[in-house]
Amino acid sequence: MPNPPKSGQVNPVSRRQFFRNGARVAAMTGLGALTGVLATRGTAAGWVWQIDPAKCLRCGNCATHCVLEQSAVKCVQAYAQCGYCQLCTGFFAPEPNELTTAAENQLCPTSAIQRTFVEDPYYQYSIDENLCIGCGKCVEGCLRFGNGSFFLQIRHDRCLHCNECAIARVCPGEAFRRVPAQSPYLLKSVAK
């Protein structure tokens, strides 16, 4: 029985070997062309997911569909847009018993919004991101009767930057899009 010395070639250059070499060269050329095309339009830093606050419908999916146990989406406060209202409709549940920080008066299911007195009659509202689950209830409340300074954003220190964001595909507002990683937020700014 013929035992080839090494490297598994039966004949010096068999037909199959020839075919393989050709296919390999073709594959390398194809790969080279492909990477060439991609490189000419490539970006270095890449993309991250973000929510366009103008398109978000506050549906609640952000709280439940992130691959993380606790969603990477959080409510953020555009302070310059906030009215610092005493009766914040993003903070208080509709018709609260009294304007105190007791949990039953709050809209937020996790009491993630901190209400601190600034000066009469103004209160600052900020979000404790360790508590916020991104449900968007306060965003809706603030938008309905207030200035709309609360809005949802993916927080990139928490986000895993999934190749496909699990919330994006269930977002009824089609509010998710890829944004350049150098400017990874779509912040609300004061209306000019």
């Binding site: 490297s7 393989r20 594959a27 549906c59 310059a80 009215g83 009767f145 990139h156 999934c162 595909r169």
Partner: protein, 446 residues
């Protein structure tokens, strides 16, 4: 739509009249503080630093180089084991499996067809590097760099042999999955390969129950069927298989002479080791030629049939696209209205569509057209794969030694030490190596 209370309107009007023009769109004027209060700014924590992403590419390249070296120089199973442990820790549990080469063909397809998305260089590198290595050295990536492969490999305890027809039949699924992933990425639907990766949720230790259950099931099956995801699902594995089939150098049980002792026969847990051609009688050439001729005629038939079948499936396939799904939900609502609760995603989506139904319907129609083309190409691709598979199966076996099939071999280096010539070459004690497949299992396989 933004609803505004009557009071709000009044407030807004008042604001306008009072000359707060600059902030006219706010219901309540932001206060002018007198107590020296400093307004906080909205923080914007950045994502993963760019240099860390380049580090990932560097680690990938280094791991690939080490894997190739381990397979061809020391030919060390132990080395491959430790390398895959590292890869599992780094690419799996530290990097949480994203981005990985398995999903990268989708980014490439999406980037080619959507000019607004330029594929990041790191993703191009993750796509191309393992493939280039496969074209020269075989599946070194699968051997010791892929965290998904490593995870399954660790669970392998008692491999049983999968019957050949199943091995070949199920082995076609990766090509289907690859085609589907590319078709869905090209139509802008989403990245289904990432969506249904069963191991990434395990790396993250969180995810949907369905996927976690799927991952655990794969690992349990993987105790007896070596690397089930790699062999019967992985779409990137399909690409690597194609690359390895034509690779420059090949993994061999031993670089020394094969004495046909059959000791290595059952040493591959993945059924990749192939027997040499039976000595003496080569199959009658004319009959073989005829089969090959028929198969070559069959090839275009398969391609056309595949394209037609794919096209017929396109309405169903298109439903995965959110815009098409919304348009269909809307159409159903027109006929049999269902009441969705307030603020539910469905109700909100329908309300959004009701604002401009024409635009969404148009977009959906356009997408359906693209799906007809995409699914036809997908079907043709699968027809081609089946045809080529049949042709390859009909070709005469030309190998004279026990050799791993270059496409199926993960280069895990398990079979090396079962070869007595190899043990002599490496100065290892030559004992009669117990084949790792227990008697019962190999009897089952016969």
């Amino acid at each position: 739509m933004r609803r505004i209370s009557k009071f709000g309107w009044l407030g807004g009007l008042l604001l306008l009249l009072l000359g707060g023009v600059a902030r006219a769109q706010l219901l309540f004027p932001p206060p002018e503080f007198e107590s020296g209060y400093r307004m906080p700014v909205t923080t914007t924590p950045p994502g993963r630093a760019l240099w860390l992403q380049y580090l990932d590419v560097g680690v990938l390249a280094a791991c690939l180089a080490v894997a190739v070296w381990l397979i061809y120089r020391p030919r060390s199973r132990r080395g491959i084991f430790w390398l895959s442990l590292f890869s599992l820790a780094y690419f799996g549990f530290y990097r949480k499996g994203c981005i990985c080469p398995i999903g990268s063909p989708q980014n490439i397809a999406y980037g080619l067809l959507h000019p607004s998305y330029s594929v990041p260089v790191t993703v191009v590198a993750f796509f191309a590097l393992p493939l280039i290595v496969a074209l020269f050295f075989g599946r070194a990536f699968c051997a010791g760099v892929c965290p998904q492969g490593a995870l399954q490999d660790f669970f392998l305890i008692k491999p049983i042999k999968v019957p050949a027809f199943l091995e070949h039949g199920l082995g076609l699924i990766p090509y289907l999955f690859l085609g589907a992933g590319i078709a869905y990425a090209a139509t802008g639907t989403g990245f289904v390969i990432c969506r249904y990766d069963p191991f990434v949720p395990i790396f993250r230790l969180s995810g949907s129950f369905f996927l976690l259950a799927a991952g655990v099931s794969f690992l349990l099956i993987g105790m007896f069927v070596g690397r089930p995801y790699c062999r019967f699902l992985c779409p990137y594995g399909a690409l690597l298989k194609l690359g390895s089939l034509v690779s420059r150098w090949r993994v061999r049980v031993t670089p020394e002479t094969c004495t046909q002792c059959r000791l290595c026969e059952h040493s591959c847990p993945f059924g990749a080791l192939r027997e040499p051609a039976p000595p003496g009688a080569p199959a009658p050439i004319p009959g073989e030629r005829r089969t090959l001729g028929w198969l070559l005629v069959l090839l275009p038939v398969l391609i056309i049939a595949g394209a037609l079948a794919g096209r017929a499936l396109s309405p169903v396939a298109a439903r995965l696209h959110p815009t098409v799904a919304l348009a269909e939900l809307y159409a159903r609502q027109q006929q049999h209205p269902v009441v969705y609760g307030v603020m539910t995603p469905e109700a909100l989506a329908l309300a959004r569509m009701a604002e401009q139904p024409g635009t969404v319907l148009e977009a959906a129609a356009d997408l359906r057209g693209r799906f007809r083309l995409a699914t036809a190409i997908f079907g043709a691709w699968f027809g081609l794969v089946v045809g080529i598979k049949l042709i390859l199966l009909s070709l005469r076996v030309s190998r004279t030694d026990f050799e791993p099939d270059p496409g199926a071999c993960f280069a895990c280096a398990r079979c090396f030490s079962s070869c007595p010539s190899e043990r002599v070459r490496r100065g290892l004690p030559v004992v009669t190596v117990q084949p790792p497949v227990p008697a019962a299992a190999s009897a089952l396989a016969k």
